[in-house]
Subunit: 187 residues, 2 copies
């Protein structure tokens, strides 16, 4: 069994972009600690403009990353009338751009908008135990109300990763998962 | 392989309710023929009030049914802050009520709001061929971008049913299905 967490739409910011959006040297305030490493949901939100439409109140997830990345859902892509690629976090080359409106300034990104690919976080020690390696695709069965098996869940191995699968809100709705839950690994 | 169709939120109306909402003896106008029997998406839409919130422009699906039934999604249930049960069409006892606003009148329903349970339409002849019977639960694998297996797909057998599985918009988003597609039956 593996814990399954649900990712709502959110944005990761580079320090450079954070400086423009919130002011030079601004430190994000932690609203809620998340499961992986130092990740936290910040108190701060930003507004986004993409394909001439606006989405207000996108939650910032800290700490700062090397590159700014906006994670939306298929449901959003229909509203925005925009094709958003399904990518693993960090793999943003050639993805759509967007405009970020913060309280101190505005940033225009040429790329960085993705739908997050379902994935499994695992430490090197646990990966060895389960005979998994980075990039493996596994399946996870979730949900009681609407039992669903998610295939092609990509394995991400990193020291300190907590053994947890991440799916997005569309996927959580499909399997009737309302908050975090557990799934059955199919190796 | 089985054709898979996506149901967006919609409402079925009894003739009695249709008379109040649109005027006595009103005939719904067909916008688009649907795959099952005489079903069609109507030109008419209604507004809904549920849990003190409004959803505008809910598509009516004709022809009239014995009982009025509103089909929303998990995504809607969060926006409405309302627990909506997952039910097979027609099984509405004890489900939440809602208010329907039409151009000629208003109807208050004490029950009838469901999230549609994923299901397979099949004729008696084809059911026999696949060794299926009414109420069987099967699995269907869909989607290339986000391969997903939907379990507990309930089999509905009726003369004239076209062999087709129905999933809702949350489920379609989870498997990356943008329009209708095909799935693989797992018996």
């Amino acid at each position: 069994m593996v814990p399954v967490e649900i990712s709502a739409r959110h944005i990761h910011l580079s320090q450079e972009d954070s400086d423009i959006l919130f002011g030079k040297g601004y430190q994000l305030k932690q609203l809620k600690k998340l499961s992986q490493g130092a990740d936290f949901a910040a108190e701060e939100t930003v507004d986004i403009e993409v394909n001439e439409q606006e989405i207000r109140g996108i939650r910032v997830v800290g700490p700062s990353r090397a590159e700014t990345q906006l994670e939306l859902t298929f449901a959003d892509s229909y509203k925005l009338k925009l094709d958003i690629p399904v990518r693993l976090s960090g793999n943003i080359a050639g993805t759509p751009g967007f405009r970020i409106i913060g309280r101190a300034g505005v940033v225009v990104k040429k790329e960085g908008l993705i739908i997050a690919k379902r994935h499994l976080h695992i430490s090197p020690e646990e990966a060895e135990k389960y005979a998994m390696k980075k990039g493996d695709l596994i399946s996870i069965t979730c949900g009681e109300l609407r039992k669903t098996t998610f295939h092609d869940v990509e394995v991400r191995v990193q020291a300190g990763f907590k053994f947890t699968a991440h799916i997005d809100v569309d996927e959580a709705n499909a399997c009737g998962l309302k908050v975090c839950g557990v799934g059955r690994l199919i190796l």
